[in-house]
Amino acid sequence: MGRSLEDLVIFILKRFLQLLPVLLGVIVLTFLVTHVAAIDPCPRWYQKASLAVINHCKAQFALPLWTQFWNYFTQLLSGNWGTSPLGVPVYPVISSAFPATLELVLTSMLLMIFIGIPLGVIAAQFAGRWGDHLVRVLYLSGWSIPTYVGAIIAAVFLAPFLGLPTSGEYSAPPPFPQVTHMSVVDAVIALNFPYTIDAFSHLILPAGVLAFIEMGNATRMTRSAMLEVLPLEYVKSARMKGLSNFVVLYKHALRNALITATTVLGVTAGGLLAGTVVIEEVFGWPGIGAYAFSVLGGGGRPDFDGAIAVVVVFAIGVVIANLIADILYGVLDPRVEWR
């Protein structure tokens, strides 16, 4: 029992092992929703395709469920994720789009932390008064505004006002190789300063909208964690020592409140990822979200293999974000036993 280094390793390994059944469950549930719930889907998925393709699909669905699942499972593991209606294989597209989405989500998470958490502190500081009410209106507005409305408002009205670009990752194709496929990181690696600024100005608006929409949880959790901490004796004694208000709030109180607020990472991961679907479409960001938006094909035939891949990738993303939040919580909170 304790918190030595070996205990930490065991703690993290245990969390990983607990992850495996959840991942398996995610894969099974996706299979159930996409394969078992569909009734004679072949003609719809493969509209305008040759009869041979449709018959092949029908033959696949005539197989017993176990065989179907096994085929689906092994294909998923081997990276053979099928092809889109245009004949483009799904796996390479998703794996090259993934870093762009990761960049967007991580940036908005940072914005959420650096704006949402201080707002929560302000709300707790002025609890029950106008500062509190103002913050509440702000985060509930983010909560109540549909992602696409926020994105359209930002792209049509806010962007011209701030002089920010609204489409893509760069204004012109970059002259340097894209090592990581993350726009800002690539520009920094190439030591290309103008392109770094350009990439950042493309990133900030979509990430900002996403952060504003998902900020509510961070602010709300920080506020209630702060409200729980503020009446404690150690905060009072810090005040009595004559420390400034800022130091008491942000160095003494917030440090403890943040432990609770780490759960935000897990809670908002799903919302952030789902938000990318609309945000990336509106802002022309070349990530998985924009790909997910396109799987329905807008009247044409749906990209069925792509839809499965997108669901699995997003669900795994949420599971991993929760794992990270869980481990972080265990590390930060000294009350958690690692074994």
Binding site: V22, V26, V28, L29, T30, V33, T34, H35, A37, A38, I39, P41, R44, W45, A124, G128, H133, R136, V137, L140, S141, W143, S144, I145, P146, T147, Y148, V149, I152, V156, R220, S224, L227, E228, L230, P231, R239, G270, G271, L273, A274, V277, V278, A292, F293, L296, G298, P302, D303, F304, A307, I308, V310, V311, F314, A315, I316, V318, V319, N322
Partner: protein, 368 residues
């Protein structure tokens, strides 16, 4: 002001031992609601907005002619003829303007109200009942190495799996596999929404289960199912219903987003829906010219979601005992602390509510 606490206390003490008639408890909850409203003006605004939404929706269901002048796209009949002025900006006759197809946008937005609210409330209610029941079971029978413990473990692991799916993305996959339609969108949200309630109710149940009055009921030989429904459920209900209120707004927004990506009710059709309306206009028209096409449905979604969020968030603040205590204490940072002994934690929700009211009353007394 100073006389109020005394009166309240006398009243409470008088009704202490005898069984309370139903009328009084209804009266108390009304008065509790009034105090909540007065504590935070935003909660009051939320309450009023929710009431307006519900009343308008009721009117549209019962007798739409009263507030919907032009009827839905394919539903003339009792309504006036559809407007002949196409593509007209907002005016007195058409407050939200008309579109290229001659639809009165005000009428469309109003006709969509019952459907959108119904979907929000219906899906959240389904999640509340399904998730709540599972959470209650998982929380109440959680001893390891028993049948209930095994069941509880299965429920919690399944919940973890379902929690991993963002509803929007799952909706895309469901629509890709079973085809477009309102049921695909509803199914996607229903599948992904209940796990939150399992978590919430399980946590509350675990906390309530070990309180002395439950142990006392067990010792008195009350059947387990009766303890669950009579003693545990009633105390779990309050925070869950508050979360439910907050959730209606979130479901509304999520459903409209799913509609927007093209997985919902087709528009124009028999019944308009805000999300699909906006999706249709956004795809087919230049919005910077025809701004009124999309502005009014957007405001409708935003206002109705904000209404439920304001109400739910305010209620949650008041009913969460930790925040409530902290709110009471944090305001004393800036004022001399009132000399009030901390009330002991009461096991019964009704009693703790009483104490909260008393506590509030005392503070008012101190402030006056």
């Amino acid at each position: 002001m100073a006389a109020t606490p005394l009166k309240v206390r006398l009243h409470r003490r008088g009704s202490g031992g005898t069984p309370k008639p139903v009328g009084r408890s209804v009266w108390r909850s009304v008065r509790g609601l009034y105090r909540v409203m007065r504590a935070n003006p935003l909660t009051f605004i939320g309450f009023v907005l929710v009431a307006i939404c519900l009343v308008l929706a009721l009117i549209v269901i019962v007798d739409p002619v009263l507030i919907v002048p032009y009827g839905a796209s394919q539903n003339t009949g009792v309504y006036k003829e559809p407007p002949t002025i196409l593509n007209w900006p907002p005016s007195i006759q058409h407050p939200f303007g008309t579109d290229q197809g001659g639809l009165d946008i005000y009428s469309e937005v109003m006709l969509a109200l019952p459907l959108d609210l119904g979907i929000g409330i219906g899906i959240a209610a389904f999640a509340l009942v399904a998730g709540g029941a599972l959470g209650l079971i998982a929380g109440f029978w959680d001893q390891p190495r028993t049948l209930g413990g095994a069941l509880s473990l299965v429920i919690m692991r399944t919940t973890d799996v379902f929690l991993a799916f963002p509803s929007l993305v799952l909706a895309l996959a469901i629509v890709a596999s079973i085809g477009r339609g309102v049921w695909a969108a509803i199914l996607a949200i229903m599948i992904t929404w209940w796990p939150y309630y399992v978590r919430l109710v399980r946590g509350e149940t675990l906390a309530v289960k070990h309180l002395p009055y439950v142990t006392a009921a067990k010792a008195a030989g009350v059947r387990e199912t009766r303890i669950l429904t009579r003693h545990v459920l009633r105390n779990v209900l309050e925070p869950v219903v508050v979360y439910f209120t907050l959730d209606i707004g979130t479901v509304l927004v999520t459903f409209s987003t799913i509609s927007f990506v093209g997985a919902g009710i087709p528009f124009p059709g028999k019944v308009p829906e805000w999300g699909s309306m906006m999706s249709f206009y956004q795809q087919n028209y230049v919005l910077s010219t025809y701004w009124w096409y999309i502005t009014f449905p957007a405001i409708a979604i935003f206002m109705s979601a904000l209404a439920f969020s304001l109400l739910g968030d305010g209620l949650r603040d008041v009913l969460d005992p930790r925040t409530r205590r902290a709110l009471a204490e944090s305001s004393s940072f800036h004022e001399p602390p009132p000399e009030v002994p901390q009330p002991a934690a009461a096991p019964d929700a009704a009693e703790s509510e009483e104490e909260a009211i008393e506590e509030e009353a005392r503070e008012e007394g101190a402030a006056a």
